[in-house]
């Protein structure tokens, strides 16, 4: 029975395309936690998060968000989840405010509340000078900020971000990180994949390492350091864990 104490509770999750991509995954993320999911390219991170967001159907296993089974009640689960992908998908011919109005409509947010919150987000993310310009001419960083504003405008309880800092300049990355920190401080759960290990090291309370579709290690930074038996950076820990898994697989083969 899934517990509402966990923002995300994954058990026995499996997904295959032409090969197994996610294999019997067990993952629990506590409510209000900042959780970083790390792994080399092709490890299965995005597939896991896309299944949580409802973009992919699992082959087997169960996913629950704050106690809501995503397979049994997808609408209820989606109403408290926000998804931000590495490729910001916004409409070229809508302005940021029109995009936010559309998102608010999809999430059935009261128009006045949505407008107030949208304007707050537009100011917060530095989009005010471009609030009435069509997104078509925006840079990748600006588009990512519009997508993030869209994810936040409906006050989600769980925010899932897949490589949200890819292609952002230092200033934009800082703004996004600040927004995420404030959301976590307000009790919202954030799950993020990233290849920028310093970000995970500094922001995440717990870190999970995925390789070949399996969770190979999980814990706080201190717990991960203890696991490999030396005081070192997350980068060293990550490379060590990935290399260890590769060696195990090679031995089995």
């Amino acid at each position: 029975m899934p517990s509402p104490d966990f923002a995300l509770d994954i058990s026995g999750l499996r997904k295959s395309f032409d090969r197994p991509v996610v294999i019997d995954l067990e993952l629990k993320v506590k409510a209000g936690e900042f959780y970083a999911l790390l792994g080399p390219n092709g490890a299965g991170k995005t597939t896991i998060l896309r299944m949580v967001a409802g973009l992919l159907k699992p082959d087997a296993g169960a996913i629950s968000v704050y106690g809501i089974d995503t397979a049994k009640d997808p609408i209820a689960a989606k109403s408290i989840v926000a998804w931000v992908s590495d490729e910001p998908m916004v409409y070229d011919r809508l302005t940021p405010l029109e995009y936010l109005e559309f998102v608010a409509g999809l999430w059935r947010i009261d128009a006045r509340e949505a407008e107030r919150h949208s304007n707050e987000l537009v100011d917060w993310l530095g989009l005010r000078p471009h609030a009435n310009e069509r997104c078509g001419g925006f840079s990748k960083g600006m588009l990512q900020k519009v997508a993030l504003a869209g994810a936040l405008v409906h006050n989600p309880r769980l925010i899932i971000l897949d490589e949200p800092l890819t292609g952002l300049d230092a200033g934009s990355a800082r703004q996004v990180k600040d927004v995420l920190k404030q959301k976590v401080a307000a009790g919202i759960t954030v799950i993020m994949t990233t290849h920028i290990l310093e970000v995970a090291e500094r922001m995440a309370e717990r870190i999970g390492v995925i390789n070949h579709g399996r969770l190979v290690a999980e814990g706080t930074l201190a717990e991960l350091r203890a696991r490999i038996g030396r005081e070192t950076t997350l980068e060293e820990i990550f490379l060590d864990l990935v290399a260890q898994k590769e060696a195990d697989l090679a031995a089995v083969a």
Binding site: I75, A82, M89, E98, G105, L106
Partner: protein, 511 residues
């Protein structure tokens, strides 16, 4: 292996990309599809030869005499062909300026952008010539079979005119860039290509219909009045026709003229290619101010939010809108033909009905693709707390409302003449729209809206079914308007088309 960054090296690179792109588009990378495609093309090509033989045999069996009538016929047919070549070349050249793909890489490299442009323009000319050869070869081959190898010269004429079409297309595109700027060039070039491609065909058909009462464009070219008014045999106007008919000197002149024009144009404009391509790239980066003042958010249901989004996106994209509305242009000749043929006896409005019904089906197909498959923020819509069926319903509603807005005034005009006919037209517009929308729904595949041009190759079954059902419903509508029970026949055929489309649709893969 050629030296990197030289003309042959770029040509090999372009050829490899074009070949793989074509294979992926037509076969989806599946071997079975490749075999089926080759077989289908073979059968189609053979069929074209048989058709050409049926059409030409009575004419060539008596021997072709080079007189004014023959020269008028060959020149007129050749000119028709060339307008289509020019239209295709214009589209391809514009695409070369606007397609990003590897341009960023090439333009930022130390390689000469003039070489890239030369290769891409030459590739456009080659593609234009190859397509023209493919379409004209059944006629030329039949003529060779009956009249001997002198007709091989026609291929040289095609090559010359293909090169000329590419040269003119480059001049038009560069002229548009310089006169109206990169923001409008693509749209205007698209409209010019449509008008050039369809304009002459439609025009000559219109003349044939009005003067001779049939849709055969050759009626004009064969009429004694037209032949008599044409210049005499020594006029240089007939040079291309003489060239095609085996005059080697004339053929070499036409070939040299086309290739020379292309070489000159490439030489004159290649230096500015990088500048125009960069300007074209800047169009997508240009910021468009939507409104000075922010208007308050409006409370809307989920479905209404989706509908409003669809309408906004459609209204703000004149290029897509023009692509969709251009389909209606091609319905003009049949409308005129029906009007002239039956307008007097059955009433003008009766003959306009099938055209309206067909236009509704075609427009609905395009708009449905844009709304259902062309979703730029697919992830957002899928992760929203709304049932997928409600999303589709809202999008279909948006399409139906748009069709309603376009066709309501037309139906009102019909209603002024006859309420009964207006009801019948409205009913079949609704059925034709519903059929096209259903087909797009069954064959939906999420794609960027910018891929609209490729929707027809994404699923040929969908495209063919959509066209067939529109034609069948149009036939049923006109027969129903004439109170004929025979209307049941095209209606039944339309239903069969829909059933076959549904059976062939990829049910398990729909998103």
């Amino acid at each position: 292996m050629s030296t990197p960054a030289t003309l042959p090296w770029f040509a090999a690179h372009e050829f490899r990309l074009a070949w793989r792109d074509w294979l992926a588009m037509t076969t989806g990378g599946r071997k079975v599809r490749t075999v089926v495609l080759v077989l289908m093309l073979g059968v189609f090509y053979l069929g074209l030869h048989l058709l050409a033989n049926v059409l030409l045999a009575p004419w060539v069996s008596e021997g072709i005499v080079i007189d004014k009538a023959t020269l008028v016929m060959v020149t007129g047919t050749g000119f028709l062909f060339w307008t289509v070549m020019l239209s295709q070349a214009l589209e391809s050249v514009t695409r070369a300026y606007y397609a990003r793909s590897d341009l960023d890489l090439i333009l930022s490299s130390p390689a000469s952008s003039a070489s890239v442009f030369a290769v891409r323009t030459a590739a456009t000319a080659l593609a234009t010539v190859l397509l023209a050869c493919l379409l004209a070869s059944p006629i030329i081959n039949v003529l060779i079979a009956y009249e001997g190898p002198k007709w091989l010269a026609a291929y040289g004429v095609l090559a010359g005119f293909g090169a000329l079409a590419a040269a003119i297309s480059v001049l038009v595109t560069v002229g548009l860039f310089r006169s109206i700027g990169p923001a409008r060039t693509r749209l205007i070039a698209q409209i010019i290509a449509g008008i050039v491609g369809a304009g002459f065909v439609i025009g000559i058909q219109a003349v044939a219909i009005l003067s001779f009462g049939n849709m055969n464009r050759f009626s004009v070219l064969q009429s004694p009045e037209f032949v008599a008014a044409a210049p005499d045999l020594t006029n240089p106007l007939w040079l291309p026709a003489r060239a095609a008919m085996g005059d080697l000197g004339a053929m070499l002149f036409v070939l040299a003229l086309g290739l020379g024009a292309l070489a000159l144009v490439i030489r004159a404009t290649s230096g500015s290619f990088a500048q125009h391509a960069i300007a074209a790239a800047g169009v997508s980066a240009a910021r468009v101010q939507q409104s000075a003042a922010t208007r308050p958010f409006r409370q809307a249901s989920q479905r209404h939010a989706l509908r409003v989004k669809e309408w906004r996106l459609l209204l703000r994209d004149p290029w897509l809108l023009s692509q969709t509305l251009m389909q209606i242009l091609y319905l003009f000749p049949p409308a005129l033909f029906l009007w002239v043929s039956y307008g007097q006896s059955a009433g003008t409005y009766v003959v306009v009905i099938p055209v309206i019904v067909m236009a509704a089906g075609q427009l609905a197909g395009g708009l449905s693709w844009l709304a259902i498959s062309g979703e730029d923020a697919h992830d957002l819509v899928v992760t929203a707390p709304i049932h997928p069926r409600a999303v589709l319903t809202a999008k279909i509603e948006a399409v139906l409302c748009s069709i309603g807005v376009v066709f309501a005034p037309i139906l009102l005009c019909v209603a002024i003449a006859s309420w009964e006919l207006a009801w019948i037209t409205a009913l079949f517009v609704a059925i034709s729209t519903g059929s096209a929308t259903a087909i797009q729904l069954w064959f939906r595949v999420p794609m960027r809206r910018a891929m609209f041009r490729r929707r027809q190759v994404a699923s040929r079954t969908a495209t063919i079914s959509e066209a067939l059902s529109s034609i069948m419903w149009a036939g049923a509508a006109v027969l129903a308007a004439g109170n004929q029970w025979l209307a049941a026949l095209p209606a039944a055929l339309a239903i069969i088309v829909l059933v076959v489309a549904w059976v062939l649709s990829p049910k398990g893969k729909r998103v």
